[in-house]
């Protein structure tokens, strides 16, 4: 198992390198000087600017700059934020846990909804349940997250007044009150993201189960006298999940996109809102670092999917 994970890690290295090349090329191709914040700041004298250019090596050949940039990225030396005058890695470490929690919980919510609904829909295809579920799923993934977010705020915060619509990280309450407040303010961001995911996931689950349920081994399981419940849970779902895991992993970039939007709507202090703030304030080091971190997270989740894949399907050898 460890061996397998290690090999997958080795395969992930070229993609990480590829992503870093793409990122660096984008930065290098960009007209003007991305670090011009310091250059245009009138408080910075010309000599200091030249020294800074030299120190950052902005006048060296491109490949040297790339290698140096990559090295410092790998060592966790991500420069510092022009705006908040804090090291970028600290800034990101502050924000990352919130994002991971929101994304993680929304994925859990999505699975909890999509799996049972998708399986039930596929067990009785074209029944009224299937039709209604499929139509709702269709509507669900045609609704952009920013619109659902706004509708949720309108309904739950403004009309009903149940939930706060601005996420606060400075809740003063302690004990149960603290958890309750956090829970209340997390409901909307998590459900907006989770429902959107659940909609497309449900369609994957349904078609995967439909593919599996007609296979001979399922008939065999039934004719052995197993209960329908066992047949579905043990024989059908487990095999149907294999393609679903791949598709869900392929969706990860979209999930992070959705997280950026939800964090922006509900003012969740996560890595996505950090990115938007940095872009609106021309804070280049933060933008680069956040994009890099998000790329790494996507690759990490792909890796995780591979591991789950191996667990679901024993035919894939770990050797």
């Amino acid at each position: 198992m460890l061996n397998y994970i290690f090999r997958r890690l080795l395969i992930a290295v070229p993609s990480l390198l590829g992503i870093s090349i793409v990122l660096f090329t984008v930065l290098a191709l960009a007209p003007g000087d991305p670090f011009e914040e310091l250059a245009t700041n009138p408080n910075v004298p010309a000599e200091v600017r030249m020294m800074l250019r030299q120190q950052f090596g902005l006048d060296d050949p491109v490949w040297q700059r790339y290698v140096r940039w990559l090295m410092s990225m790998l060592q966790g030396d991500w420069g510092f934020s022009f705006q908040s005058r804090v090291n970028v890695d600290q800034l990101i470490l502050q924000r990352l846990p919130t994002t991971i929690v929101v994304i993680g919980l929304s994925q859990v919510l999505a699975i909890l909804i999509a799996l049972p609904v998708g399986v039930l829909a596929a067990v009785k295809p074209y029944s009224w349940f299937d039709r209604i579920a499929s139509t709702i799923a269709f509507v669900g993934f045609s609704l952009p997250t920013f619109f659902t977010g706004i509708v949720f705020i309108l309904f739950f915060s403004i009309y009903l007044g149940w939930l706060p619509f601005v996420y606060r990280s400075d809740i003063s309450a302690t004990g149960w009150q603290f958890f309750w407040e956090h829970f209340k303010q997390s409901i909307m961001p998590i459900s907006v993201l989770g429902l959107f995911q659940a909609a497309s996931m449900m369609r994957y689950v349904r078609s995967a189960v439909l593919d599996v349920i007609r296979l001979d081994y399922v008939t065999t399981a039934r004719s052995k006298g197993l209960t329908e419940r066992t047949v579905i849970n043990k024989h059908v779902v487990r095999n149907a999940l294999i393609p679903v895991v791949t598709l869900v992993a392929l969706q990860m970039p979209a999930v992070f996109g959705g997280a950026i939007v939800t964090e922006q709507i509900f003012r969740v202090p996560g890595i996505g809102s950090l990115l938007i703030d940095a872009i609106l304030r021309n804070d280049t080091p933060v933008i680069m670092a956040v994009t890099f971190v998000l790329s790494c997270l996507v690759i990490f989740f792909n890796l995780l999917a591979d591991v789950i894949y191996g667990w679901l399907d024993p035919r894939i050898s770990y050797g």
């Binding site: 993609s15 992503i19 392929l250 939007v261």
Partner: protein, 309 residues
Amino acid sequence: MQDITQVHQAPELGKAVASISPWQEAWRRFKRHRLAYWSLWVLGCMVLAVLLGPLVYKIGVNDVDFQSRLAGPSLKHPMGTDDLGRDILARVLYGGRISLAVGMAAMLMAISVGVLIGAVAGMARGWVDAVLMWVTDLFLSLPQLPLLLLLIFLFREPLKQTFGLELGIFILIVAVIGGFRWMPVARLVRAQFFSLREKEFVEAARALGASTPRQVVRHILPNSLGPVIVAATIDVAAAIIAESTLSFLGLGFPPDIPTWGRILYDGRDYMDLAVHWAMFPGLAIFLTVLTINFIGDGLRDALDPRRVL
């Protein structure tokens, strides 16, 4: 090829058999999908409204009317007004043109790049294929929205200076959205090419001395178009969502150009006072995307010859 099909379509035993072209057959199958069929009508009406609406509906996009600020829907302003008293229907109609134009242009870009890369990979095989597929997989694992934001942040100003405000942003957004959506198409086309290039009719064309470009353009490509058309439909919807997401984050078109996402973005701060402001553009996006997705679903059924309908 021509002669063989002629023979097949000829009426047999004197009975007049009306010949049905593949497209007529696809249309017949498409109509079976009720939701897709009605979606086509709804979308058609919306496209017409967006194209012809501003010609009929005379209130200007930036006509300020301080007498009726944040007014709800009324006869004078069917969708109400915003905080400057600008008519929201006029803005939604105008914004629709931009959103649909971005969607179509980004789709064309994604499809052309995807077909090109998929076709080259499918015909060349060997190391060319390996490299192209590695690039495709790499692009698939890129976090798209952050990169979109990064690219727009870095390239907005220079393009604005070269092409002017509206056109510059339009080119940038279309190129960036299109540049991140070609991967599924490339994979589809490559897979189709792999199976089609070994088929007998292609072999026959090859035996008759058809050059590789001719084999591709005349024989392989037309037969691999079905899934590509479906992907193209879905891409239009995805591009519209991407554009409105960018506008919603305040990084799309500038504030004086009302796209659907931008109106929504402006309206969300006034949700307690003027619900209609954010609702109507949001509903426009939702309805467009929903109908396009349904049409894509219907096309999938219609263009898949293996499916019995």
